[in-house]
Symmetry: C2
Subunit: 183 residues, 2 copies
């Protein structure tokens, strides 16, 4: 089964994207890093687009898993999804929770706005947002929290760290409080 090679390739591609941005995602280099030949790479992913698609799918899948486990771990079901979204987007100190920001940016930049893969991302977002609006709390609040989380995520993506840690922590606290069941 090729799953092992596939993963090695995906890992290498992801690493490349994270350090070198879209320009760093070069088939030769990815193959080299993955310890495979270019031909081998092309055997698993017949085109660069397919490779990016693989990256995209894996990212989505991981995010989905993380959301599920965070939700499961939350003792309070009301607002759990919203809290999970917040938590899986940014950490306590306002940093991005994972490298999804860089990854997403890379994926986005590698292929245009019209790509099939972006469409998949959109569909996931639609689902997530539906879930958000049915989280047991005021949908407007939930949306607000989500947007703020996205804003934080964007800040991290652009490398804007102008919001100082203390303020950021305070804000995160507020946001979390907003997701608690209505008093």
């Amino acid at each position: 089964m090729p799953a092992e090679s596939r993963d090695k390739i995906l890992n290498a591609a992801e690493a490349r994207l994270l350090v070198g941005g879209p320009a760093g995602l070069v088939l030769d280099a990815v193959a080299l890093d993955a310890g495979i030949s270019k031909g081998g790479l092309l055997h698993h992913f017949p085109s660069k687009e397919a490779l990016v698609g693989g990256l995209c799918d894996r990212m989505l899948e991981r995010f989905e898993e993380e959301m599920a486990s965070l939700c499961a771990a939350d003792p309070e079901t009301t607002g759990a999804w919203t809290r999970a979204y917040l938590a899986s987007t940014v950490t306590g100190d306002g940093k991005p929770a994972d490298n999804s920001a860089q990854l997403m940016a890379g994926i986005l930049a590698t292929m245009g706005r019209d790509s099939v893969h972006l469409e998949k991302v959109r569909q996931h977002f639609v689902r997530w947002h539906a879930r958000l609006e049915d989280d047991g709390i005021d949908p407007t609040i939930a949306t607000l929290v989500r947007l703020a989380a996205d804003g934080l995520w964007l800040s991290a993506l652009l490398g804007l760290q102008q919001i100082d840690p203390a303020a950021s922590q305070h804000l995160l606290g507020e946001l979390r409080d907003m997701t608690r069941p209505a008093r």
Copy 2:
């Protein structure tokens, strides 16, 4: 004076970036669109990087102007900057206020995260955020509003329109109310 050609080039480059993304930003094509030769283009912008830099500067400049005029037009000074940020980021119906999102994305994608130009963007953000924290309203609120605006902007950038217009309008209203002087 070369200002005229410069602007034509910048306009062409911007248009290219908007419709074709980073991949559409090709010197030959930009020169063609601008009605100038490639050599002529290179005369005004010695490198592609310089061209992107020009685009970046102009975008920042325009944003700055818009913020100033919005602030000046607001009868209530308290929270005016925060409101201006909100307004110049997204329109009433949750669409991005201008093409800054696409533009920024293109710029970002064309050059890596380490570029000089991105550094300029960062510095502007630092100033904006300082301004935001001294806007006469609770800084946490101001930050929250700003982040939500950024979130909305990001949604628009990714082409996620899953937040329906009515809800979006309601949310925008709430955000605006938050920027009013404390009751």
